[in-house]
Amino acid sequence: MRLELRGITKRFGALVANDHIDLVVEPGEIHCLLGENGAGKSTLMNVLYGLYEAEEGDILLDDEVQRFAGPGDAMAAGIGMVHQHFMLVPVFTVAENVMLGHEQTRGGGRLDLDAARAQVREISARFGFHVDPDAVVEDLPVGVQQRVEIIKALSRNADVLVFDEPTAVLTPQETDELMAIMRQLRDEGAAIVFITHKLREVREVADRITVIRHGKVVGEASPTASDAELASLMVGRAVELTVHKDAPTLRDNGLRVTDLVVTDEAGTVVVDGVSFEVSGGEVLAVAGVQGNGQTELTEALIGLEGDVTGSITLDGKELVGRSVRRILDEGVGFVPEDRTHDGLVGEFTIAENLMLDRSDGPPFVRRGALQLAFRDRFAREKIAEFDVRAQGIATPVGRLSGGNQQKVVVAREMSRDLRLFVAAQPTRGVDVGSIEFIHKRIIATRDAGVPVVVVSTELDEAVALADRIMVMYRGKVVGIVPADTPRDVLGLMMAGISPEDAKGEVTA
């Protein structure tokens, strides 16, 4: 089925999220929708899926104008969507999830699970998915859960499939498998819309590329275009994609973590016997798929975890058992994974947020009173130095874009005398321009002789910043390898395979 979007305009109040967007997706084609976070890709797809109603423009399927009042209409018309966050009921089986919303019943209102099972088996066999219809969804790996989403869409005879940022939660290997599935679906004649901001994936799988910026189509690109070309089209200016850094100059100070075990409130061991060392002047990147203990590891470093055994020493001083305040006082800078929840007070001004972790004494506080003049001078200096784009220092941080919010956090954490810098997902949800800036500052911190720990689930980022890469899987360290380790070895390590076996598998 041929999908055409003609002049779609979607406004939120006076904000134009989609501005006369035209898009044609032919059957048997993978059409990539490339754009930064917030460019309007998801809004456009939500219009297509009937979740939003566009003010202007038409949706055409095989040249017939469609009117969707809700996702039900869109599904009935043959549009299937694989969401970034899975829309599955975790405690249901695969078959139950697939039939959810269009249950077939037998006499007396009994569910016809056998029909659903048969359908799952049939689709699973056709595409080689290997999905057991009776498996409970929450027990399945993320990659398989995503296949259940695809089966759901296919079971409703979708001819147009939309994949909304599908690779964010996958290991590189799972990503490769997904791409193979997408190609297979394309070859069966489906029209596929693939939404992403990852350039590598685009070039690998796309037949055509449409780039969206600030709600408008800014151009088409061919899959043969270079990363730099695609990035500059996406951002609107030339972008430095690689992080330039010299060989590290190691110092003998640093962080030493020994046999660290963190148990969460439910009693589950989330960090399991982790040991590593980071010297001053070196970046250790912690790679791994989301949820393999990285978050808890960084929180243990800063003293946020309650149940911790083992040892964390910084320049010989033990940090385990100290309060967050005392760890900060030891010179630890911390960029939390979720800046809006853990890093910033949204209602507070930029100036207030810049002193958030220094309200305990001079120079920001003297004799119990805030030093407003100092605070404001400091804030003005920092927003200039860190290029925070805002009306002024009195702007509430909640009003800033993700990139500018992150720059506020980074500015705050980097303006103390650091002896260790820990950054978790430092560029998540941040625009490309700010990513470039934040990466440069992290390397500058390293070059100043500070040990740096960066946690990233984006392998590209981990590789770009790291001097060494530590891969975590289910709370354990799979291995610590040099930054120039091949991607596919790293990918296998992220699935829990030891570096030796991974190398063997890759060369074999």
Partner: protein, 450 residues
Amino acid sequence: MSTPESSPGTDPGQEPELDPGTAEELEQERARAATGPVGDDAADTQTRLAKALQQTMTSPWTVSVGAVLLAIVAGSIMIAFTDEEVKAASTYFFARPGDTFVALGQAVGGAYAALFRGSVVNLQAPDVATALRPLTETLSYATPLIAAGLGVALAFRAGLFNIGGQGQMLVAAAAAGWVGFGVSGVPFPLHLVLALVAGIAAGALWAGLAGLLKARTGAHEVIVTIMLNYVAFYLISYFLATPGLLQAPGSSNPKTPPTPPSAQLPPLLGERFNLTWGFILALLAVVGVWWLLNRSAAGFAFRAVGENPRAARVAGIDTGRATVSSMLVAGGLVGLAGASQVLGGVTTGFSSDIDAGIGFDAITVALLGGSSPWGVLAAGILFGAFKAGGSTMQAAEGVPSDIVLVVQSLIVLFIAAPPLVRAIFRLPDPARRRAPKKARAARNRKEAAA
């Protein structure tokens, strides 16, 4: 699905999040380019006016004022319905409808005139002092409301809902009262100070207990403070009925002895008025709380914990300590209200109803005042005026004083539903304030890029 307006900045995949700063700059540049140097001033004034108007329309204060207006309108309807003359005139409405409207006007106008006469200034009075007496009555009713309102507002800013005003007032009144009539031989200012300190400390400890339980065990402060209200009420009732504790000697009533003059708050404007120095203490408390919240390190920590406890914790702020100390201060403020009652308001001895519902009215005052110290001052005075004027309304116009309470309650109801007030007055939603700016920014950027 949440719409982008409802979750600005939290959903990165939804809409362009552009910073208002550059939007503003570009805007100004454009304005300058368009109008040239001559028209610059005019354009500037215009945007400033528009901005001021925008700010007024979206300020929470406008909602508060709107809520008061709505409540007064609703109150008028109540007055009209309960007025005997209106009822009488309406029985022959179709014969002479004019009578009904005259009666309506008289009833409503008369009632609000009486409210004004009883709470602000009595123009029928023979001399200036008597004319201004209603205002001093308002302020003296407002005194405990302001102090207790500050206590609720401060806790609220630290993210805690202090429902325990009643209990905190009762223990404070008991402590202050006991130091008042139980300790003798201490001269005037010292005795008063001792009694005040005892009251404030008792209130602080009572609320601090809830804070401590919350910080240490995670017990919810709403439940704990409510239950502590019961504990305080029945404990004080028991003390009041037990000779040798709070009960006046030789009496069988559950009532304390009177407060001796050496422990009384002296009158502020002479013996003719009920207003005491307690009002000055309340004003000092307003300034103190303002300083604490906006200028002190402790207040910074309170607000950080109140707005985002997780971020506060990550930033090394001891959230438990902030919880306990904010409740201590909050309880101390409510304690001041309780102490000012027994040392200034009711000096003839008190019983277990000494809190007079102020502990709960304080929640209303704090909400109406937007949890800001100056807002609490204004809201406290407004409620004081309702209390002072309510009795005049009843005495002069025969309006049931319950109707005054209905008006008060309606104010709270309307305050609690800002979208309702905004819808009725067609005020813009502050959450949407950003959207136009962003759109302009997007446009500007596109133009700049083109």
